[in-house]
């Protein structure tokens, strides 16, 4: 009998797993520095050309600006909506709680194409808005809110409800309790939710593509670039830059999330 052998086998598997997960992104980063228009081996030489080309594209910077603008607004809106919803769902008992929870998490499991089309019809046929950054933002709030809710609900469930009751017993009114007890305790969750909502919006393609008018967001722009083979390296550079930025960003968000509740998102899922 060899009781230790499965341990190391699984460890090897896990390492390979993580490596394979990250390999494509790594390759993309490597090729973004490669002095060759095709992404083929052998590597030719180190260059920053593609990055230079990237920063010199006006349209790119414009769509980056749009993405940032939409992302920040979406982050704030969906966090506020999610916070209110999460407080209602974790603090109070009311009828229809189960169905409401399920309904508000629907966007997590519905194909985005259906969601995007539904929103397109809603915006064009029912509300008769023009397609703009505003419609993209509205769509993003819809898909980011469930993520924010998961994060905030697990955070709100994680701390002792007695603290709020104690505050009320000591004579604070509802608002004061919220400002001085609930909000500070929920803070790590709120920060994590802001960041995750931002990144959800920043990375989203399909819904933006359906709902965008003349102004596009960055993913829509990147997608439009995929059709031109000669622009592939610049797109690689852009992709690598965004990936590295997202990694750093998400790592920070995760640290915030884990600092309070251990394994917050894992248990929420």
């Amino acid at each position: 009998m060899k009781p230790r052998s499965p341990v190391s086998l699984l460890l090897i598997y896990a390492c390979v797993f993580v490596f394979v997960i990250y390999a494509p992104s790594l390759l993309m980063v490597i090729f973004s520095f490669n002095d060759n228009i095709y992404t083929t081996f052998p590597l030719k030489g180190f260059t920053l050309n593609w990055y230079w080309q990237m920063v010199n594209q006006g349209q790119l910077l414009e769509s980056l600006g749009h993405s940032l603008k939409v992302g920040v607004v979406v982050a704030i809106l969906s966090t506020v909506i999610a916070l209110v919803a999460a407080m209602a769902l974790t603090r109070y008992r009311f009828s229809g709680k189960g169905p409401i929870t399920v309904t508000s998490l629907i966007p997590l499991v519905v194909p985005y194409i259906t969601l995007g089309l539904g929103l397109l019809i809603l915006v064009r046929q029912v509300l008769d808005w023009k397609l703009s950054l505003f419609s993209i933002g509205a769509g993003h709030v819809l898909i980011a809110t469930p993520f924010s809710m998961l994060v905030l609900m697990s955070r709100l469930e994680g701390f002792d409800k007695n603290l709020e009751e104690a505050s009320r017993d000591l004579g604070e009114n509802g608002w004061h309790t919220f400002w001085r007890v609930t909000l500070p305790l929920a803070w790590p969750g709120i920060v994590a939710s802001l960041m995750l909502a931002f990144i959800t919006s920043f990375d989203e393609y399909l819904i933006s593509a359906f709902l965008s008018g003349n102004d596009t967001t960055l993913p829509v722009y990147i997608y439009s670039q995929l059709r031109f083979p000669q622009r592939l390296p610049a797109t690689l550079a852009l992709g690598s830059a965004i990936l590295i930025f997202s990694f750093a960003f998400v790592l920070t968000a995760q640290m915030f999330l884990r600092r309070g509740v251990q394994g917050g998102k894992a248990s929420a899922l």
Binding site: F17, M28, L115, D203, S246
Partner: protein, 288 residues
């Protein structure tokens, strides 16, 4: 409020699917024509579904055939994803003692980075001038580019599997983590070998998480649009691409809406059947 926000898009889709397109306007008289078009009966002979050549019972085969193909591809992806994700989740739940947070973060980072970019990075890898082919040729292992990874259904399945596998790890991990470890000791004490113990205790107890993970992958991938478009070429397209083109180039919104509803309904039906078949309700009750 939120619930209302969510319901209106679907109501819009449902209503639109009964209309008719006239150039740039809609005829809002209710009609079943769109659905009739999709499900028009009549044998279409010798159509291709994956590697099989079969007879298909619907005349306008493209809609239902593409739907069937998408479902099959999605099933393929789901099965592979679970197969790869399970050992990883098992490792996380039972074998990692120190630095568990680091492993968890490593697993969950891809979840939050750009889906489009992760798919896009596969375009760099697969394909005629891709990394895999050029590396193999450079090493002298092959003379011509491998054709089975060039823009087709296989490359879509590979890419999707890779993109979704980390999504599946967390739900499985959570259900393994929650498991009462003393049950494993009990099984060992009663004389089970490690393999018997896995199949009789661990696997059944982690089933809810595994089922959740499977659904989390299956449902969105059926309607996948980006991946087939980027790495699928013409033979790898899925029903999502057809729906999109009906709303775009082909400019028949009502038909697109109808097809999208048919897709949703099919997925819901399959999921319901699947849950019924494995007795999910009982499984959950037993867990509670």
């Amino acid at each position: 409020m939120l619930a209302a926000l969510l319901v209106t898009p679907f109501a819009g889709l449902a209503v639109l699917s009964f209309w008719t397109q006239h150039n740039f306007d809609f005829d809002s008289a209710a009609t079943f024509n769109n659905y009739a078009k999709i499900f028009a009966l009549g044998w279409k002979e010798d159509v291709e579904l994956f590697a099989f050549r079969i007879d298909w019972p619907f005349t306008n085969a493209i809609y239902t055939l593409l739907l069937a193909k998408s479902v099959l591809m999605s099933l393929c992806v789901t099965a592979t994803v679970i197969l790869f994700a399970y050992p990883m989740a098992y490792f996380l739940a039972f074998r990692v003692q120190r630095h568990k947070i680091i492993w968890l973060i490593l697993i969950s980072i891809p979840f939050w980075t750009s889906y489009l970019l992760r798919i896009f990075s596969w375009k760099v890898i697969l394909g005629y001038n891709g990394v895999v082919n050029s590396a193999l040729m450079y090493l002298g292992l092959i003379d011509e580019p491998l054709s089975f990874i060039l823009y087709n259904s296989t490359s879509v399945v590979i890419t999707l599997t890779h993109a979704w596998v980390t999504f599946a790890v967390l739900p499985i991990y959570v259900s393994l983590e929650k498991m009462d470890k003393s049950l494993l000791e009990a099984a060992t004490d009663l004389g089970d070998t490690a393999i018997e113990r896995f199949f009789r205790v661990t696997l059944p107890l982690s089933a809810p998480g595994t089922v959740a993970a499977a659904l989390l992958v299956f449902i969105p991938t059926v309607g996948e649009y980006v991946t087939p478009n980027v790495v699928g070429g013409t033979s790898g397209i899925m029903v999502g691409n057809l729906i999109q083109s009906l709303f775009g180039k082909s400019n028949d919104w009502p038909l697109g809406a109808a097809l999208s509803n048919v897709m949703m309904f099919t997925v819901a039906l399959l999921v319901a059947f699947f849950l019924w078949a494995i007795g999910y309700r009982r499984m959950r009750q037993r867990m509670a």
